[in-house]
Amino acid sequence: MARRYNPAMARWLAHLVVITLFVAGIAAACTRVHPDWNWSGIWDYRQKFVQGWVTTVGISLAALVFAMLVGLVVAVMLRSRMALVEAVGRVYVEAIRGTPLLVQLLIGFYVVASAVGLENRYVVGVLVLALFAGAYMAEIFRGGLDAIPAAQLDSARAIGLTPAQAFRLVVLPQAVRIVLPSIAGQLVSLIKDSSLLSVIAISEFTLAAQEVNAFTFSTLESYLPLAAGYLLLTLPLATLSRWLERRFRYEAA
């Protein structure tokens, strides 16, 4: 009996082959520049890696929650009919998107936080990261809100909903479905961007690897687990994002 061609299985196999080749290539390159590995030295610092990784997860999640709130509020501002409100939102978004996160971190930490007497570097780090990601979220949410047809608002008004109810019960749930894949993608960026918090001495994952490297002088052994640790977070999110995209596509009709 002939086996049927199974496209899902073929896709998995193709992925597996590419990943294997990719890892083998990197391993070959590493072995070439660096014949003797010092994994035992690194193993002694595993606690540090784990703590750093957990800190990165925590910071990213905290920043995500704030960033979504900021993004939603700014998205509403960008759509405001009041010129001043729209201008505040627009200036914020463009200022954030037009400057590097590194610069924002340095100014936020050494200038703004010092000026207002905010001393906890973790709080500052999460806030700066949230304000940074919030500007991108704002544009994503704005796109989601814009995608809701005017007919939906007419229907909401026709059944007697207040403007606030129409937003909460009709517009927001539909907009969230539209933006969810992009938000999951944004979370991937946020996790990677959190590595910059090492410059203000927040003991997250990247700083942990830098410190292990300083202690052991084993650069590759310090940074390869770093890459693997980030992928452990970002790959499932990227998969989730694609799944959400397929899942909600059919619902829009």
């Binding site: 007919a151 939906q152 229907s155 007697g160 207040t162 109810q165 479905r177």
Partner: protein, 250 residues
Amino acid sequence: MRLVIHALARRFAGRDGRPATTVLDGLELTTGDIAALVLVGPSGGGKSTLLRVLAGLDVPEAGSVAFDGATLPRDAAGLRAYRRTVGTVFQAFNLFPHLTALENLLLPLVHVHGLDRTAALERVRGPLDRFGLTAHAHKRPAELSGGQKQRIAILRALVVRPRRLFLDEPTSALDPEMTGEVLEMIAELRVAGTQFVLVTHEMAFARRVADEIAFVADGRILAHGATATFFDDQADPRVRRFLETSQHHA
């Protein structure tokens, strides 16, 4: 219902370089004490604009509208209170696509009319059954046919027990087979005594359900009368020509 419209004007400000337009221009209409008023007329004549004013969705620039002697309010809160006492169904996209048909029905009952979920479920069960929609209650709008969507939309407007319905070409976006099932539902409501103002191009249907028919064109009422006499000897040649061509189509 006895509808009295006086000197009604509706204008749209010009946007993006387009000139301002006057869509309703001193419109006058006085009906008898009737259950069903049907609005007919050429596309772009102002039927939808008029219906939106009647339904309390838009505020006219001038003039007044009164149902049974009660003049429509002009303030946002007053209009919202008014909209809660009536039901409106548009040509398409009435339902909320993220909710099942059932949740679409429950939403106004729970969030606008203060019923608890159990009472709301009780309220919609009979009507769903009566119009043969129970089997589709748990489907999302995307899984319903156009006719089913419109029937659920009409039901959503009905279950809040409105004083009257406003229906703007509820079958214009439908295939002929589905048009039939929606018109049948409206005809049943008519028999049950539901009051409505209906915009439609289905002349045979207008003749069947209307107590009075008004012909809307150029933002005014060009002809108006009881259904029995409306189709005979119209003085205005535009009205006569429109009725003749649409009779052939019907």
